[in-house]
Amino acid sequence: MKPEDRELVAQLCAARSGQKVDPAKDYLIETRLGAVARREGFDSIGDLMTGLRAQREDRLIWAIVEAMAAGDTSFFRDRTPFDHFREVQAPELARRRGEQPIRIWSAACSTGQEVHSLAMLVDDMAGQWPDARFELFGSDLSERALEKAQSGLYTQFEVQRGLPIRSLVRHFEKVDDMWVISPQLRQSIRWRRLNLIGDLSRVRGFDLIFCRNVIGGMIEPARQRLVENLAAALNPGGQVVFGVDEDPVAGAEPLRQVEGAPGLFALSATDRAAA
């Protein structure tokens, strides 16, 4: 792949999704774009890039950007945020929200493991707070990832990464060589394709947002835009869960870190008062 083509891919990703792509990482770019070229009917990545330069077709640009954005994920990834949700956030929200819906958003849900993990936890806790109504939402930039997420179908390898065996037995059925999550859980989640640095003015009213392992891979202006979008989508008292190693807000506004909880951020006091 030519250096100028890799440079173009990096520019497109930065402009469309805010993603930081290193043009020097030729193996990564070629691996991701090889699949796009095959799917779009090009003989090679070179042909794909030539086609892109000739036409700048929006659909093709998004196919490339989405392919580069695909992230690694697994059930109950990094475990700690899910333990915190089960032991602290869910009971607190159930108490505070009463019969009001508790809205939880997995903002970069990829192929769905994160939001399905939350759905399993919510289902497992269902008897504890009879009045609580949890509403789960999953969004991602990638249409293809969302399709897989919505199907609830996972390989044997995928269900063995992070999923306790009792959760597999309780919430999944085996279909040929694949495992499918129960229809009840699948249907409890609402899905939508979203660009997190786009116009999210209609995305509002969330009590908890999971947005892990996204912001660390973004260019600076996009990071700020993402923080603003997430903060605006929160209900008063709402929280955002970033990756444990991510430091999303250098200037701390409009989110502040929750003490003693790595990766967990809440609306700062002034914004909370204004919300």
Partner: protein, 121 residues
Amino acid sequence: MRTCLIVDDSRVIRKVARRILEDLGFDVAEAADGAEALAWCRTTMPEVVLLDWNMPVMNGLEFLRGLRMEPGGAAPKVVFCTVENELGAIREALESGADEYIMKPFDSEIIAAKFAQAGLA
């Protein structure tokens, strides 16, 4: 050091699993079938058993039921590691006292994750 007993009739599987478990900090022992494993446990009860299902002499399920009847046999965590991947088989293993369950093929990441879920991190 924590001890893990690998019970599998395949020498290759035992070798691969041994390498992974030693990297995780376990002192590893091996048995080629359930009967050999049970005899080993009567002498030295391990902290964890990585257990194949289909083996000659005594299969994994028979071993597990026998182990749980032994004095101190309730203590070891038992992680099945088998090609049996139907829900019915998994349920039977859990009902018989297994703590976790790995469907072959496996890799180091899966073993590490499953051991963590069994409280062995």
